[in-house]
Amino acid sequence: MATDIEKLMKLEVNCETGEQRYVELTDEELAQLEEDRARYEAERIEREAAEKVRQAAKASALAKLAALGLTEEEVAAIAGA
């Protein structure tokens, strides 16, 4: 995944001295980062797909309520739309 970070660095803070410094990620940390990226990207896609399904179901329900003769205000009152 593209980012605007040219070098993959980590910020380290030493609580004993207060020193802050940037250090390049190790090969192991880079591998872990790639693994985490892939996993969270999959989770994001799944989450967004579920949200689309939920929104479609809500729109369908609101349309059915309107078809029954409820006004927009009445639909909003019971559905929080």
């Binding site: 993959l8 803070v13 609580c15 004993e16 207060g18 990620l25 985490d36 990226r37 969270y40 989770e43």
Partner: protein
């Protein structure tokens, strides 16, 4: 509560980075509290903010995390980062940061895993766009020496992290 809530360290991101490590935490506190203000570097995508604790052996990748439990009931186990919330995308209004807190209990118990309870949100701006609020609890190392924050797309400049130590009083 003069000595019961003490600022131990802080980090402010000066140039984008995927990882922020708070190291060499003192061993005299029973709990840690973390305040986070963060956003990330990739446009139009809200990213997870993940944390991992450092055990007494110094490693972040040993058995420092046992199980992560999400509020939806799902769990993940093993040596992985826990998703503790979300950060706003770079497309959010300039200057808008997601805010949140984490409370880490029993950080020096030695026998029982410490527990992280967190709430982090990625409010884009004024209710427009997609909003995410996450509340999670996780189990971590029995003795916490450091805390690692990760945003796989990168924390943007200006993201801040404050760690407080709490004594049982």
């Amino acid at each position: 509560m003069a000595d019961t809530f003490v600022l131990l360290g802080s980090a402010t991101v000066a140039s984008p980075t995927t990882t922020v490590n708070i190291l060499d935490l003192p061993t005299t506190y029973t709990d840690f509290a973390v305040l986070v203000s963060a956003r990330q570097t990739t446009v139009a995508q809200t990213d997870s903010l993940n944390i991992q604790t450092q055990n007494n052996g110094g490693g972040f990748n040993a058995t420092s995390q046992v199980t992560a439990i999400a509020t939806d009931g799902s769990t993940s186990s093993g040596n992985v980062f826990a998703n503790n919330g979300y950060t706003p995308a770079a497309s959010a209004t300039s200057g808008i940061f997601g805010s949140g807190w984490m409370y880490i209990t029993g950080v020096q118990n030695g026998s029982f895993n410490s527990t992280v309870i967190s709430r982090l949100c990625a409010i884009t701006q004024n209710g427009t766009g997609t909003e995410f609020i996450s509340i999670k609890s996780s189990l971590y190392a029995t003795s916490v020496k450091g805390i690692r924050f990760q945003c796989t797309n990168g924390f943007s400049t200006g993201s801040t992290f404050y760690i407080y130590g709490i004594l049982a009083a």
